[in-house]
């Protein structure tokens, strides 16, 4: 099956800092989503972005499908941004979301 690699595995930020999270995948995809898992375990949808660039407030994401990677940008980080960020993809000829191992982000005040 498709392999999804996220980097870095852990990220510690000072409040106000910017950061970039990366997701590499091993095959062509027709679906890519970024999620934020909050401390209560809830998976919050951030972006549905199989290709192109999207922005939502302080967060933005870019997927370059031809090069098999996606980036999630966090600007002016806040303590509420802490949690685990997951990238999940669906490869062609498949239907289930395959998840990366996640990036654990800790934002310190």
């Amino acid at each position: 099956g498709i392999q999804v690699e996220q980097s870095p595995p852990d990220l510690i930020l000072q409040e106000g800092a910017n950061s970039t999270l990366r997701c590499n995948f091993s095959d062509s995809v027709n679906n890519l989503q970024w999620f934020h898992q909050n401390p209560w375990g809830q998976l919050i949808n951030l972006f549905y972005i199989p290709s192109g660039t999207k922005q939502n407030g302080r967060l933005s994401a870019t997927t370059v499908a031809t090069e098999r990677y996606s980036l999630l940008y966090i600007s002016s980080s806040q303590t509420t941004d802490s949690g685990v960020y997951f990238c999940a993809v669906v490869s062609f000829n498949d239907y289930k979301l395959s998840f990366g191992a996640g990036t654990t982000v800790t934002v310190r005040a």
Binding site: Q33, D94, K96, L97, F99, G100
Partner: protein, 114 residues
């Protein structure tokens, strides 16, 4: 409801007992997924339902696990003769179709087997 609803939120059960976990997908969503997340781990696919098609059960870890979806809506995941290694958060997701639409997750059921 507005989102995917799972119940119960928490379940503590004794080893060897059977448990049932429920998922109410978003109204109109035909695709439904179950995933499992063990402590500190990523998400592991369990089972997939799409409309009236036969479900994909390829992710179920053993024959103690089963799931059904009644009337194309509510789904129940059943774990028989629970073991301590079944302790995890069980997450349900739904989407409008299947692979090309956005999936939304419920809040999960935290299962603890003692």
């Amino acid at each position: 409801g507005a989102g995917v609803s799972q119940s119960p939120s928490n379940k503590v059960t004794e080893k060897g007992k059977d448990v049932e976990l429920r998922c109410d997908p978003i109204s109109g969503h035909t695709a439904l997924y179950w995933y499992r997340q063990s402590l500190g781990q990523g998400l592991e696919f369990l089972i997939y339902f799409q409309g009236n098609s036969a479900p994909d059960k390829s992710g179920l870890p053993s024959d103690r696990f089963s799931a059904e979806r009644t009337g194309g809506s509510v789904s129940t995941l059943t774990i028989q003769r629970t073991q301590q290694e079944d302790s995890a958060v069980y997450l349900c997701a739904s989407s409008l179709a299947s692979e090309v639409t956005e999936a939304f997750f419920g809040q999960g059921t935290r299962l603890t087997v003692v």
